[in-house]
């Protein structure tokens, strides 16, 4: 697959799969779920003023990280019933992992200090070593999903599948960061909200 073909399929998936996962498609019968997915994929290609919705979304959100794309794909596969949902503890660990990456990367990218961790992604020997160690740790913990996400991101970087020459852009993007931090915040905010204010 050439980088151009990859960009096409990735932008298509980035437009259709989040919508498929956000819609209450789990309530549909399996054939209807498949039909809904196909319909969303087709909708993402319908040109509006010469550009498809997938292209518009890519214009705003840029090309998603490979980890995000793969997570969307796996989420879709689970929703379609082709694969069992991974254990909750594994998913929670991934939420913390990507939220941690976001905390390291994004505040400094806004120019608050002279330190810029994004630079580590351009000549990423150190970052590759860190992600390699992390992958080994996940493998040791039999966390194959986490290991797969990081490995695919690394492979994508080696093959330069995206327009970016920065390793970080294959590992994480603001959409994934927002999702992970949002889920964690929602879970842990409950601890600090008095029970009388919580919804039943």
């Amino acid at each position: 697959m050439t980088p151009l073909e990859f960009v096409f399929w990735q932008s298509l998936a980035s437009a259709a799969l989040p919508l498929f996962l956000l819609l209450p498609s789990a309530r549909l019968s399996p054939p209807l779920r498949h039909a809904l997915l196909l319909a969303l994929l087709a909708l993402a290609l319908v040109p509006i003023n010469g550009l498809s919705p997938a292209t518009y979304l890519r214009s705003v959100f840029d090309d998603l990280a490979l980890t995000t794309s793969l997570a969307l794909l796996l989420g879709t596969v689970v929703r379609l019933g082709w694969m069992a949902r991974p254990p909750e503890a594994q998913l929670t660990l991934l939420l913390w992992l990507f939220a941690g990456m976001a905390v390291v990367l994004y505040p400094a990218a806004l120019g608050l200090t002279f330190v810029d961790p994004y630079r580590l992604g351009f000549a990423p020997r150190l970052l590759l070593a860190g992600v390699g160690l992390l992958s080994l740790g996940l493998l040791w913990q039999r966390h194959y999903l986490g290991c797969l996400l990081l490995s695919v991101a690394t492979l994508g970087f080696v093959l330069q599948l995206k327009g970016s020459t920065n390793y970080w852009d294959y590992l994480i993007d603001p959409a994934l960061a927002t999702f992970c931090m949002g889920v964690l915040l929602r879970r842990h905010a409950r601890r600090f909200i008095p029970s009388r204010y919580r919804s039943a």
């Binding site: 959100f61 806004l110 608050l112 002279f114 970016s164």
Partner: protein, 400 residues
């Protein structure tokens, strides 16, 4: 082995083409209908310059195009302007929606590849900008499709260009850039000879500096001058590198004022800096040329390139504004463009006049020192024309 700055003044200067006068000016642009802004300039050959700028119905409009024109040095004339990039061509090349285009810079690399970097926005204001790169292997006759440089982890938004690229002796390109999303700070990008982003280094941090202009002063030393966007001292900022842009000193305020406006600098033949700027606390009604030493401690005013007749830059009533504008036009346009006066004056009301009165604006200078020993400066003249001023080293010598 780290890269070093390429000495672009080195080689054998061939002063075959001397201007008819040591100080000449003319309009590079020729369209009287459009708002024009953010000019840049490069030397293509001993006899040809290329200037680029953006033009459209207003800044940020969807019809803004990147335009250019060639200057024939021996004839001292600007040729007809042409379109280099549009919103549509950029959209098609990037396969993304593009809302508007912005600042372009152009530079001829030592490998004779001509580079055009320009800003585009898909959503929001200039904070949503990204940089696009196009190159030409035949001096601008044909161009590659635009390619987006990925320079930020935050949806790749908020990176803009304005200052002249700098070339390194290993073929890599130094591109001064700045960010305008939440923070306002400057960076120095290292690009490969093919335009791939190799690395980037922060020149400043925080929320008060942008649009760096870089002047190499030695094999690994350079000065960055920055536009000040803060609210404290309103002075030009400067930072230094001693390792070819890999680390920069904390920016410090200099003597001249800066009213949050772009400035340009170039090295002179006598090891000083020539700086074009609005040395004002507020407004852009006067653009001046200064010379300073490499310590940037002693500043000498050389000339006011353009100035409002009102010393404080206050708005003028149309009755006195139009005659003054007419005089300035005739002094600036050059012989080839003076027939544009009638059409230009018909557009004045909309572009330069408000209820309080009419204002002069001279801004966004871009300065180049050629191998032939001539300085070429382009800037926005009342956002209506791109004005070109050229002067020789002899003229500079005659000023002091």
């Amino acid at each position: 082995m780290p890269a070093a700055f390429l000495d672009e003044q080195a080689g054998s200067p061939t002063l075959a083409l001397s201007p008819s006068s040591p100080f000449v000016n003319s309009f590079a642009s020729s369209d009287v209908d459009d708002y024009v802004h953010a000019a840049a300039l490069t030397q293509l050959s001993e006899d040809t310059l290329l200037s680029v700028w953006f033009a459209g119905s207003r800044e940020g409009a969807a019809d803004v195009q990147i335009r250019g024109a060639h200057f024939d040095v021996s004839e001292e004339t600007w040729q007809e302007e042409f379109v280099l990039a549009t919103r549509e061509s950029t959209q098609q090349g990037l396969d993304r929606y593009v809302r508007k285009l912005g600042n372009p810079v152009v530079a001829l690399a030592p490998d004779q590849r001509l580079w055009l970097f320009y800003v585009s926005v898909s959503i929001g204001g200039w904070g949503g900008s990204a940089i696009n790169a196009m190159h030409s292997e035949d001096m601008g006759a044909t161009w590659s499709t635009p390619r987006r440089l990925v320079t930020s982890p935050f949806f790749n938004i908020s990176t803009l260009v304005r200052g002249a690229p700098v070339f390194h002796d290993d073929g890599s390109i130094g591109l001064p850039v700045y960010h305008e999303f939440i923070g306002k700070f400057a960076e120095y990008l290292y690009l490969s000879a093919d335009g791939e982003v190799l690395d980037k280094y922060r020149i400043s941090r925080g929320n008060h500096s942008l649009q760096p202009t870089i002047v190499p002063t030695g094999p690994e030393s350079a000065i960055a001058m920055l536009r000040y966007a803060g609210t404290e001292h309103h002075r030009v900022l400067a930072s230094r590198t001693e390792d070819a842009g890999r680390s920069w000193s904390k920016p410090v305020p200099l003597e001249p004022f800066n009213p949050n406006s772009s400035l340009a600098a170039a090295m002179t033949h006598r090891n000083t800096l020539l700086v074009a700027l609005n040395n004002l606390r507020d407004g852009r009604f006067r653009l001046s040329l200064y010379e300073t030493d490499l310590e940037m401690e002693n500043w000498e005013h050389l000339i006011d390139l353009d100035a409002s007749p009102d010393p404080d830059g206050d708005p003028l009533p149309e009755s006195s504004f139009t005659p003054a504008l007419r005089r300035q036009f005739m002094a600036s346009s050059g012989a080839d463009r003076d027939d544009l006066l009638g059409g230009f004056l018909a557009e004045v009301d909309e572009r330069m006049c408000r209820r309080a009165g009419c204002e002069f604006e001279y801004e966004y200078p871009y300065l180049v020192h050629t191998r032939e020993g001539i300085f070429h400066l382009v800037y926005s003249w009342n956002n209506s024309f791109i004005k070109h001023v050229s002067f020789t080293e002899d003229w500079l010598e005659s000023r002091n």
